[in-house]
Structures are given as structure tokens and as C-alpha cells.
Symmetry: D2
Subunit: 365 residues, 4 copies
């Protein structure tokens, strides 16, 4: 790891030094210059690699799990996404976990709570619902729902519904890494529904308005459910008045209406629209991202490699990786849902961004 | 002003003291005990009185002003509301100004800016619009629009429209009292429309979402227009899941989506629904309020006096006045728009509230 | 009030309009154009005038009050400062009240609380103390102490002390104007000392450190006392490393250590040093200021008028008045204590500042 | 990893499932229930172990490095502390790096910048200084200095000084883990001293005061140096008025005077005093801590194991480890400096704390 650059470690091994290093080991110590260039890289090099998970590949395996295990035995019946560079911590990218969960009509998972923050993005089915601290919310395709850190939560599918599949997103690897993860099973295994169905959506899901008497002191959004209908309408309206980002098209962040900031303290989420025929330019920035294609078809070029995607496919962009997106249709818009660790990166002062300068901003691939 | 209570001033005038007081006057000084009980009251006693301004009374006079003065001569053609206790500062209540402005199709007022914060609530007509710092917004009945402190703004009615009347609300008296009011006429007398019509509504008027790349550093809301349609829908949904406030029924605050706080630094605004047959209990609190009836009919009892109102009527509730509201209909809801100085009161630590304890919470009247 | 400027009201009285105005009065209304130019001035014109209160003039009168009234009868034995333009609201400038309070050894004032925020700056004597919510603090000359809004507080002089005089500063006129002032006499007339003497100074008066477990949720500073010794030392050190402000010399704000912001929500306070021979340039800004000369002698030029001052003199600078300061000594520094309504002005977005452009920045006088 | 508890994964391997698992691997996926109990522990189990690094052991080795490598070759001449459980990431505990750096009189390290936040705590010597973004600060024993993320910084020892040793603390492992570390060598290899020596200490190191015109918008403290003298005085004063924490004695946090919050966004620092004879009770909480003994001698019991320490010794407490401290002297106080990742833990909502309930709060050891 020697570098012949002033200001960097460049020490040749000698017998005397090697003896010295062994001495240091006895005292749980080492010489910084033997690791300095490794632990202080010029710029980040992610351990994660870009991956595309095709729904056509995964769906049948997800459905097969229904026959293979019960929710009771499995805890939760989930197929999780394993980044080749992050298998050790069961992450899909960086410190973010993701998986596909499936439930049959009438099934319900036991209620639990954990320090990790969690979200769900509904992929297919009918009759899914989530209960968060007593607030029950029915969920449909492309709905986005939070189960924030510390909340009791459980999922189910109404007996009258259809088999449901959704994507889970959590920061379990991060909270584990921070050595701060706690887990609890609800003493009654399931919660009572303590409020009118969809009450937090009714109270907090209005544009430019908030309930007057409702004091909310939690650090996450009181709006737990973000429905697809109003979200797509919002993007469509915003598209009428904005040129959009050169890197991301028409992009909106899901926010905590109490603060205007991210929905949870450790996970942010975004929906973006690539207009018909739109192709964005490449940039890179710190932070790890997992995308699900909510609508349409297209492709992303990540660190020079092209990934073609269509509705329900999932892919990831590691930290500091070049990425650009294209809509493959010239008549229909395409929409990408994504979640990320940007609240961590931003809050802690670790955000940095760079535009791709060559080739008019487009990577070669 | 003597009070025979320990801890209060209770000094009898004597010739010696009177001579002493005259001495002090020569040095621009006085004896505190001669004014202490007056300037330190046990509780607030507002200089304002409750007033109901009936639209039936005012409308014809407002329309008559069209014949009497031109916008050019008048600056703005407005009939303002004069609280009998606040004539000196031209306030409708406390330090809040309000007036009814009228414009004919094709008319446009000259663009200006001031340190006072302003808002408009549309009462009738067709084709009204406001331009704020280059952002143009068409306005319909019950739409609420901001023209924040320091912004260039102007109002007009499209040539194809109908005569329009709206209520203005400003904190001119307050900013004057703070000796901080500046006024400027736009150098070109009118602004260019610099953005797509309704662009801030498209960008910031979505529930639970905000434009991803848009950094907003101003201290007022980037959402300038709050439309009646979504506002009424929001109240109707919220009504399904809340018991409501005992004092205010189903109430929502208009908010700055960037902060979740008030729309401007000195003026807050609220829309509340009194459900069919609803009658609220009385409370009082610091802060001055001006209401406009957006929908329905009913009454308010303010410091023991009943005021019957219907759509478009305006009334005020002075600081620390008991007040309660009733919907006169058993089948239709009623909606009250209001604006207030609560951001000032709250930010500065001056809020206090009290429920009416007697008679099961209802004032006698 | 007519102005022949486009965008300003310029309507001639006619018999028809006069009749119209009378009609409007019947409905508690008026025509805006009759008052618009008055209530929307081009820039602020303060109702206050600059005043210098010489301690040589006031001291004997203050001491004489000891013979004339008892604290029991007077409530508090205070000579207050009366700005000729603000007699109606008993203000020394703008909405700020100030007075000189005197107490003999062994005297104690009854404990009370009010919504107004208060401060004290000690002028002379020995043995003075203040108790705030059970925290007792001995006070010496040039010490600055807070009795924030809503706190129980009382003052006294130890029996072993000397007669003490201090300056009171409050926002009573402002809180009255906001119709939000409440007053209460302590049920026991005096408080028990519930903590070690000077405990908040010990906990919160350290540079760059705060007590680790102490959660402070009040909106005012937990550090109630700011001692002269460390304050003068701080200014002296800062003077070594700063060029200082062209308008104010070496100036530091007293702050709430929990937030780095002003000591109370409605009143800010400042200590500034004019170095030997220093003469500052003129500027003006919104906000009202009351100064006390803590050390040295010099002069201030306020709106073109020169005021010569020395230690213990008090003077005021009204909002938007030009002002500049000079140290009359070429060998000793001079220090000015001041308090102001800048937290109100700043929090509400009403601050504006302008440098004096002519004559190299110095007013003629 | 099976657990026979409802709500936990408890699936037996079968040939069919094993085949299924192999299928999933082909698609970069896995079955959650095979890893769920591992990645969702009931409570944190730190990878770090408690370690005591005795200065008597390390000092000679640190000094020997002066002969073995030059600062030019080494980059920085540092012996770093290697937690047996965290060798892979060169951390002393959790995600925190620490090392002992030595410099001879006249030596100077090249200036650089990195995304990691850094601090120094001076152990011995004379003439040490640090330059941060052009601000030079002389440093003595027990002084604490910041070199925040993104700042240019360099260290040196005056030619007239003595060999200096200090402890470095950084979050390099954390910023690496977040894949957000950037490193740059200063183009001139050293900075010009652009301000008066100690200027930020003069401006920001005062109790309850801040420079009036100095707007500071960075997210870290503008006060870079916290001197031992005022720090020890602060603790001594605070000790007079507080009972102290049952777990930590008399403890104060170093703070950013602009916000009252932690000195940097990712690293907090604390100085605590154990009074003569004081023995604290045990608690545990999330967050990783590295201590240096600034004064005195005593012991800490960490997860049941006793570590005896004296001045200059260093030890660590891993996340969620029980710990308690004792002063071994009945006549002298002992002081512990520590730094930690609490700003990360706290900002992200991951703090949890628990008192040791048995044995009157004391661990057996």
C-alpha cells in the first residue's frame, strides 16, 4: 500500500521495522503508516457492486416460498437481495437491506418492533395492509408505507384478497454496524386496531395543511402511507412546470410533513419520472440507493455497465458510482421508486457530488 | 390605579410626592408606582372589540368604489375594516389590517413590495390572479394566496373575467408598530411573468412530497396558493378520522411545506369545519383572529355576545376573548377561514390558553 | 397625505367621496386610499426620540425615593425612563421599558412573575441579589442578570450590604401591545432558595462546555447571571484578534449557551468595547436599543445630534436612526452595555441595515 | 441460528429447502429466515472488546518511532490502537480510530484534508501547535483541539519546544464504512497562518458571549481549541453545585458554542471528574467510547472486568457494555477525557440506555 506521493505513507519494510511491528502487536497497537493509505483512500471505492434483480427471475421463487415455509416458522416469509460484495452483512447495497415478502389471503405476520427503520413498496396483489402502532392502512400497488424505528408493526392480507408481494427496505445492516439494534416481539403477537382505518393519511396527507391541534414529537413522519395515485399526480403536475434535473428527470422526495425533511431518520425515499424519451446525464455522489421500477421500461448505466429494466425490476447504485437513466419509451413516462441512506449521509456532513464531465455527460458503455 | 394588594403599587398622592413627580418629569423620568398597576395588568384586556362585518352591508359599497376611484388614483381600491378600538392604527383587530379589494376585468394594480406580510382570500368573481416575484397564479373563490414580506407582488383580473372581490389581510399595523415598515413601487410598475403559470403550486402543492432539487431558503412558504378544492377535501377526510377540537371542530392550519410551520413569519392561517349541527365550547387565548365564512351559516359567541354569520361575512376575535362557534345547519357543514398573529405570539413565548369552566363550557348570551 | 407618485394614493376629496366615507364609517369601515400613504410609509419614522439620561441628574432622585416610599407600598421602588415620544406606553424607546431601582440593605421585594421578560444591570452598591425560580445569585457592579418571562423572581440586598442601584430592562410595553401580559404575585410573597447559590452560573457559565446530563427545554437561557469580570476579559481577548465592526468596535452578544442565540425570546443584550481613541462610523437599522455606559467616557451621535456620556449614563437609539460612537479617551477603553428588541425583529424577518454613505461614513453634527 | 420463539425464524433444513437456497443464490438472493435471527439480534453484541492501553507500555514504543521513520515517509508518525475485535477496520472501538502521534521540535507534518472528523488530546511535551484552515493554535497538556471534516490541517512542534505526544481520535473507520471518505494533500504542503494566533479561541472561547458580527454557517464548532485550564476550572465549579450523575460523576460535554450541540457532526467529546473517593454505578448504553485519563488514578469495571488506570492511560468502552468508574484516591479528584460517536447515535435515533439493577447498581468483578 505504499504511495510515492508527498503526504502519503511510503515506508519500506525492514527487519528492524518488522520486529517493531511485532512488538506493537503485543500491546494491541500498530504503526499507522502500514495501513494509512488503505484506510485513507483518495476517494470512496464501494464494496458493493451494481446489481439488477429481474422480477421475472425472482417472482416464481418468491411465490414458491409460500409452499415451502409458513409465516410462523419463517418469522417473515421473505426472499432477500444479496449484493455479492455485501453478503457478510446481508445487504443489497451499502448498509441497506431489501427483500421481497409474500403473503396469502388471510395470513398475518406477528407484530414486532426493532431499532431498524423499515419501509414497504407494494408490488402486486390485493388486500394487503399494515398496522403501525395501532394505525391500520390498506395498501395497493405502488403504495409506499413506513414502519419507523421503534414502532410496533405487522403486515397481513385480508381473507378476501389475493396473494400479495411487496418489497421491504430496512437499514438493519447499518443499525447492526452501529451496534444499536434491539428486537422485540409484541406481547400479544398482534396489535389491536386502535384508530379509524387510514387516520394518519386523513390527518397528515393533505397538501399545504396540517391538523391544527396535533402535536407530533416523534422524529419520523406521522404520515405513514404515501399512495401511488396522488404521488403520480404530483409528479405529473410538477413535470409541467420544471425542466427537471439533468441527472434525474422529474424527481420528488417523500417527506415528513412536520419537518419537510426525510420520512425517517436513517432512510430517505424518492419517486422520479423519466419523461417519454428522456435520457439523463451521469453523475455520482455519496450514498447508497435501491430502485424499484414503478412504471414503464428503460435502462440505467452504472459505472459504465448498462442494466435494462422494466416494471417491478429492482436495482442498486453503490456510493460514488457513476449513474444515468434512460426511458426506453418515446410515448410513455417511466417512474422509479428508490430508497437510500441519504439522511445519514446528509445529516452527518458526508454528502459530495460530481457531474460526469466527458462525452457531453454520458458514460460510454 | 392604586390596588390594595401586597406586591402591587398602593401609594397615596401627597404634596411632597407630587413635587417629586414634577422633578422627575424634568429629566424624562417618572415614578414606576404611579403607572405600575396600569402597565402590569393581571391579565390582558384587549383594546379591540368583537365586530361582525356583514357582506350584505359592505358589498354594495365595495362595488361602488369602482365608480368613485380608479386603481391608479387609489393605489389599491380597498375598503378596509376599522375596529372601533383600533381606529388609530387602522386595524381590524389587534395589529392586523384587513380590507375588501375590488377589481374590474382588465384592471391591474401596480406592483410593489413592503415589509408587511400579506395574504388574500378570494370572495367572488372570475379571472383574478396574483403575481408574486414573477410567479403568476389564477385564483378562484375561497382560494388563499400569500404575498410574503419583501416580495414584489401585483393583482389583476383577466379582461375575460368578471368583477372580483377578495379580502386582504396584512400585518401593516404590527410592522409599523415595530418601526420596521419599508415600501417600494416596482421600477417597471408591473412584473414580467417569469415562470410557468402555477409553477409553485405544481412544485410544492403535493401531499407528502417535495421537489428533490429545490433548495428553498426563504423564511416563508414557497407554496403561495392554497386552493379551495383540495383544502375542502382535506378537511372532509380529516373529519372522518378525528373527534375534532372541542373548541374549534375540525381544524387544519395552512403550512409552509418546507418547515411544517406557519405560512409566513408573522401571520398564520387556518381553515376549520364545523360539522352539521356542531356547537363548540368556549375558550380564550392570546392572539388576534380575523375570520371569513367560507361556507355555510352559523354563529359565534364572543365575550358573551352572539354574532350570526353566513357565507362571506367577516368577524374578529380579540386577544384573550372567550369565543365559541356554532353551525346553524343540521345537514350542511360550515367552514371558517381565519388568519392571525399566532406566529408572533408563539415564536415569542406569549401563548396562553384557558377553557371556559362554567356552564359545561358554554357562555351565556 | 396625498402623494403624486404612481403606486401611491392620490385621491382628492369631493363632496361625493366625503359622503361615501361617512357611509363607510357606519359599517366600521373606511377607504384605504385615505390612510394608505400614512400606514405604508416609504421607510420607518420612529415615534421615539434619542434621549440621554445622565446618572448625575438621576442618582439623587433615585436615592430620594428611598425616603419617600417603601417597597411594600410601591411594589417596586423604581424611577422609570420616559421617552418624550412614548409617554403613553411608559417606554424608554420603542416598546422597551427601563428604570432605575434602588434598595437599602435588608430590604427585599416581593416575588412575582409576569409574561414580560426582564433583565437587570447592576450600577452600584454591595450585597444585591436576585432569586429566579429558586436560584439565588449575588450581584456586583456591571453584572447582568435575567429574570425571564414566566419565572418567579425577587430582588433584595443583604443586611450586611450597601444601598444598591440597578437598571431594569423589560419589554412590558411590547407584551402589553401584544395583549399578552399576565401578572402574578407569589403565593408566599417570597421564594425559598432551592439550589446552591450561583448553581446555574456554575453549571452553564463555562466556555465551550455544558453539563452533560442537564436537559434544558425552556426557551430562555439557563445561564441567568453574566458576570462583569469574565465579560470584560472576553472583550479584551477578542479585541486582540479582531479588527472589530466599523460601526460598533469590539462587540459581543450575551447568548443562551443552549442555543447560541439570544438570552431571552424577546430581548437581546450586548456588551461592546470602544478601544482607546476609537471612533466608529454611522449606520442605521431596525430595532430599538437602550445603552448603559459600563466603563469610560465618550459620545454618540444619533440622527445628527451629539450626546456626551460617561460611566452609568443611559441613552437610547430609536429604530432606523443613524448612530455612531466615539471613545473620548486615547488611553482607556470604554464599554457600552445595551439591550434591545432584536430577537423580535430578527425572528420575524424585520431586520434591515444601512451604512451612512456620505462624508466617509461620519454624520455631521 | 434457529430460535424456538414465536416471531423468530425456526425453519429446519430439508433437502428441498437446501435446493431452493441454491436456486436463490443464482439470482443474488437468499431466504431471510436463514439469517433473520442473526441480523436481528434481541440486543446489540459489540464486536469490540474492552481494552486498556497503558501509557507505560506504549510511550517508549511511540518515542522509538521517531528514530525509525520520518514524518515525510510515514505521512504521520502515529502508533494506532487496535481493538482485537476490530483489526479489520483499524478501529480502537466500534468505528472510532485512535493513535498516539509524536513529533520532535522543529518537525511539521504536511497539511491535508479528509472527510473524516478528527481531534487531538495533548499528552506531553512543549511547543506543539495545530493549524486549521489558517488558524494557528499553540497546545499544551490536556488541551483538546478539533480538525473538523473538510478542513485543511497540519501539526507541528516549535523548534524551541520539546518532543510532543498527543492522542489522535478520528472516525476514519466510520466514514470508510459509509463509503464517503475523501483525502487531499494541500497543494502547498503547508498552510499560511492567515489569522492572529488563537483568534478563534479569543472570539468563541468566552462564557455566555459570542462575537456579534460573526456569522458561522459550518456544521462544526468555530471554537477549535478547548484549553485544560478553563475546562478544569469549569468542572471544579460545577462540582460545587451538582450532585453529579450516578454513573459518571461530574461530567461536562465539550460543545459547539454556536449550537450548544456536539463539537463536530460525527464525534462528541466529554470531560468528567470523579471526586475524591467517588465510585459510580454501572449502566450501559449504545455508542462507543474512548477514554484518556487526564488526571489522577482509578479504575473502571467494564462488562464485569476491572481495569486499573492512571494518568495518560487510554481505554475503551464498547457499545451496550456495562461500565462503572472509581477514583482510587480519597484526596484528589480524577479526570477522564473521552470521545465518542454519540452525535451519530443520537442524531439518528439510536440511543438507548439502561441502569444496572442488581447488587445496588454495582457489577461484580
Amino acid at each position: 500500500m505504499r504511495e510515492d506521493v508527498i503526504g502519503r505513507a511510503n515506508v519500506e519494510d525492514t527487519p528492524e521495522l518488522e520486529a517493531y511491528y511485532r512488538d506493537l502487536e503485543r500491546y494491541e497497537a500498530g504503526a499507522l503508516w502500514t495501513v494509512a493509505n488503505k484506510i485513507e483512500p483518495w476517494q470512496p471505492k464501494s464494496q458493493s457492486v451494481p446489481v439488477l434483480w429481474r422480477y421475472d427471475d425472482l417472482r416464481s421463487h418468491v411465490l414458491r416460498s409460500v409452499e415451502l415455509v409458513s409465516p410462523e416458522k419463517a418469522g417473515r416469509r421473505v426472499i432477500y437481495l444479496n449484493n455479492p460484495g455485501r453478503r457478510e452483512v446481508s445487504a443489497a447495497v451499502g448498509w441497506l437491506y431489501s427483500g421481497l415478502q409474500v403473503m396469502n389471503p388471510g395470513e398475518v405476520a406477528s407484530a414486532h418492533a426493532h431499532s431498524a427503520s423499515a419501509l414497504r413498496f407494494i408490488m402486486e396483489g390485493r388486500g394487503a395492509y399494515t398496522i403501525v402502532d395501532g394505525h391500520k392502512m390498506p395498501l395497493g400497488a405502488n403504495d409506499f408505507v413506513l414502519t419507523p424505528n421503534g414502532t410496533w408493526h405487522e403486515h397481513g392480507v385480508e381473507a378476501s384478497g389475493l396473494p400479495c408481494i411487496w418489497q421491504d427496505g430496512l437499514d438493519i445492516p447499518f443499525v447492526n454496524a452501529m451496534e444499536a439494534n434491539f428486537y422485540a416481539v409484541h406481547p400479544d403477537l398482534s396489535q389491536a386496531v386502535a384508530y379509524p382505518v387510514d387516520d394518519t393519511t386523513h390527518a397528515w396527507g393533505a397538501p399545504g395543511l396540517r391538523p391544527a391541534g396535533d402535536k407530533w414529537s416523534k422524529q419520523y413522519s406521522p404520515l405513514f402511507k404515501y399512495q401511488w395515485g396522488p404521488t403520480y399526480e404530483a409528479l405529473s403536475k410538477y413535470a409541467k412546470s420544471t425542466a427537471g434535473s439533468p441527472f434525474d428527470g422529474v424527481m420528488m422526495n417523500y417527506v415528513n410533513p412536520v419537518t419537510g425533511g426525510p420520512v425517517m431518520q436513517t432512510i430517505g425515499a424518492t419517486m422520479q419520472m423519466l419523461r417519454a424519451g428522456e435520457r439523463t446525464k451521469a453523475h455520482r455522489h455519496t450514498g447508497s440507493f435501491i430502485y424499484q421500477v414503478a412504471k414503464g421500461k428503460g435502462y440505467s448505466i452504472i459505472d459504465g455497465k448498462r442494466f435494462d429494466w422494466k416494471e417491478r425490476d429492482i436495482f442498486c447504485v453503490p456510493s460514488w458510482s457513476w449513474h444515468e437513466h434512460g426511458n426506453a419509451s418515446n410515448s410513455e413516462d417511466a417512474c422509479l421508486f428508490s430508497f437510500n441512506d441519504m439522511p445519514v449521509i446528509g445529516t452527518l456532513g458526508l454528502y459530495r457530488e460530481e457531474a460526469f464531465g466527458d462525452n457531453d455527460g454520458y458514460q460510454l458503455n
